[in-house]
Symmetry: C3
């Protein structure tokens, strides 16, 4: 297995099976500090820089919370508009990174532009963690999701994933890449105009992922062990989900998972993941079913980032 | 006395006399760290999350400064507009809190909506500290004020409070609740359109607060031991005081306290508190009188929050 | 030599030669912590407050990174618009400082108004570090630059500085003040409408700085040991460089330093400093010449601020 020390976390396309399990083990070792609410001093002599060119409170705060739980220092910016009147929009990534790399020992980057963290990683002397790059990827979210599945189901192999959402968006790209490393089947339920590109699908076929497209959650849910949800009403990363939904109306029933549907058709031990915030695709009364695991997912988001930071900074091996 | 450990600090309506004095004692124990400017490590293994849905630099920074002085970690957001394009405005408090509770061990919340911290406290596994909720309450400000009075006058019982400001606003609600636990008298000087509601007054009568309304500071100041001031020119929490004052002109003389008035009519040992920033209700030359205590109040704002954080997180008992 | 403990860093006009060298020695002592990427605990019991009334990501983050590297705590605000709806714009500096001084043990202030940090220093009980005040000064930038020159050339005395940029701007004021303490010569290349004021020039003459004005980099570069660059396309601190350049077009060739010019005319061992971000006055292919030292300058920006914080807070003497 490649060492994690100093590694950039840009995409899960190149992650191998064993690497996921190594990360999960480290997460299990560190989870008690989060559960017992006591910061350690494992990374007390390290600094995390959060470079968020777009606001994303969940991803930023869960990464920062992980660093604080490990006793580390944190600084950064949470919106490029907050930087000197937008200079960063125009400055080359290379120039920016040759400044940022001296401010922290690892850089967590969210960028509105696909590939920006990869470009940053070319020039930086410190690891770059991709916290979402435009339509590209979102590895820390999907690692959180897989760790949650592994904790809740005891395995990833052998499971059937029903993925509802927008196939053009980064989280769906990343979960699809990750699934190629496990013995799983996938059903994708995307609105027709939001499907994977033909080229992306070809890549999945080449890597032997067993998958199919279906038209609605009702049709597919009986097979699902993992119900993996994202909103479908957001079309554009320059708009928020809320703004987008005002234009487009509510989620069509094919892309929703309701309490009735779960009672009527779902496997009793199937679990629902959702990175939140949610629109109406996942009504609040689903919280009171046996299926909901999104609060565990939120907790695991901190634990997984504790694992990742410890590994890339060499505090765990 | 109820334990402070894990307690939400939402309102002072339910605080008992003895609880104030217990908090003041803890403040006295911790104050030397602030005065000597040396951070302790009392809360080094804890993290404070500041969830400010409205900017409030004083309240946010004094809370964060307190946590830093205690050696703790801090993260958060200082304006909901900085979160993902306003998603938080629409997401339910429950959903938000089930994310935020994993990022910190105590949540300091400012919200534009009355009751939001109470709703958060229903769902959170960590203590919520209300840092101002719309027209509701502002307990940490008033605890600071009472601690300052106790330090400066040696007692709270037996004092006469003259409160000038806007009776619809949260600080006045909270000081009124607090006064019911002490042997004090109150004179309220509010513009007619800014008086307490009849229902609120009825509550004060039921709890045996001795109070009266008067029309001007000049009329009432001779009786006052504590001159408790807020601006009257801000009418709307969605506007800043400055914006509001541009529309409405300067403070009418009835609601001002000037150097001349103090010299002519005030008790020599009366003290003035003001949470600042001030408009023209309190001219700058009052700073050079024996009455000004608002800088002490600013210092005590950090000390009091050190006490409160230590108590709710169980570092002091 | 005056003690550094508790000293305000407002201007370099009053700095003496020996003080620069004392600071450089301290920087050399602390640099290994930055180079080895390990935070110390030298300032673990101190808190830095960053009071940035204008966004400036580089200056703010390099100051905060320095404090984190020294194990200290950091809080603050990065844009006055983020404070309560602009209250700070109207509140007096005195009132603001009598609040801020309790939140940190040293205040790093960027302000859009010249002289604001000086006014703050009049009232504050803690040291104020001027991180740029309108058209005034920018001492931490110039200290970084001088330290970089000293490290790269082994001396400051005996060097010829070619300074290209806008003579009305703070960095040029500060470098000019600093040069009076060394045995150097200066050539200033400013667009005619951006020259030093006559009064400012008179001050330099009185302090025996040998300097001349010239019209273009091509004319002057053969003499230069240090090529000290700032953009000329930004005219107004209320606009960003990028906005300004959109109005005004690209940098005229007289104020640019290109690879061709360096090859044809520059001393082989001359070095280029630029605080970045750059416009087209310094093309990216200059990065691959022997002259570029602006990345070293970026690294030294953290080291120099580590030195300064340690000195004014009394951790180094």
């Amino acid at each position: 297995m490649r060492s994690f020390i100093g590694r950039d976390i840009l995409s899960l396309k190149d992650w191998e099976r064993a690497e996921y399990f190594r990360l999960f083990e480290v997460c299990d070792e560190l989870a008690p500090h989060a559960r017992n609410r006591r910061n350690t001093d494992l990374l007390a002599n390290k600094t995390l820089l959060t470079a968020f060119y777009q606001p994303s409170t969940r991803t930023r705060l869960s990464t920062e919370a992980a660093m604080h739980r490990l006793g580390g220092h944190v600084l950064g910016f949470s919106d490029a508009k907050m930087t000197r009147a937008g200079d960063f929009y125009q400055e080359s990534i290379k120039d920016t990174v040759h400044m940022l790399e001296y401010y922290g020992d690892v850089i967590a980057m969210r960028h509105y532009q696909e590939g920006a963290p990869h470009e940053a990683a070319k020039w930086a002397s410190v690891p770059i963690i991709n916290c979402g790059d435009g339509w590209g990827e979102h590895p820390t979210q999907v690692l959180t999701d897989l760790y949650t599945i592994w904790k809740e189901k005891g395995t990833i192999d052998g499971l059937h994933f029903m993925c509802i959402g927008d196939g053009r968006m980064r989280t769906m790209h990343t979960i699809a890449h990750a699934m190629t490393q496990f013995d799983v089947e996938a059903t994708f339920i995307f609105p027709p105009e939001m499907s994977f590109s033909e080229e992306f699908k070809k890549g999945l076929v080449e890597r032997n992922l067993r998958f199919r497209d279906m038209g609605s959650s009702a049709e597919a849910i009986a097979d699902a062990d993992v119900i993996y949800m994202e909103p479908v009403v957001q079309a554009d990363y320059t708009q928020s989900r809320v703004e987008a939904s005002e234009d487009k109306g509510l989620t069509p029933p094919e892309y929703r998972v309701t309490r009735d549907l779960l009672r009527d058709k779902a496997k009793p031990d199937s679990i629902i993941l959702h990175s939140l915030p949610r629109m109406d695709e996942l009504p609040a009364d689903v919280d009171y079913t046996r299926h909901a695991r999104y609060w565990e997912e939120a907790f695991n988001g901190v634990v997984m980032r504790m694992g990742l930071l410890s590994l890339v900074l060499g505090a765990m091996e």
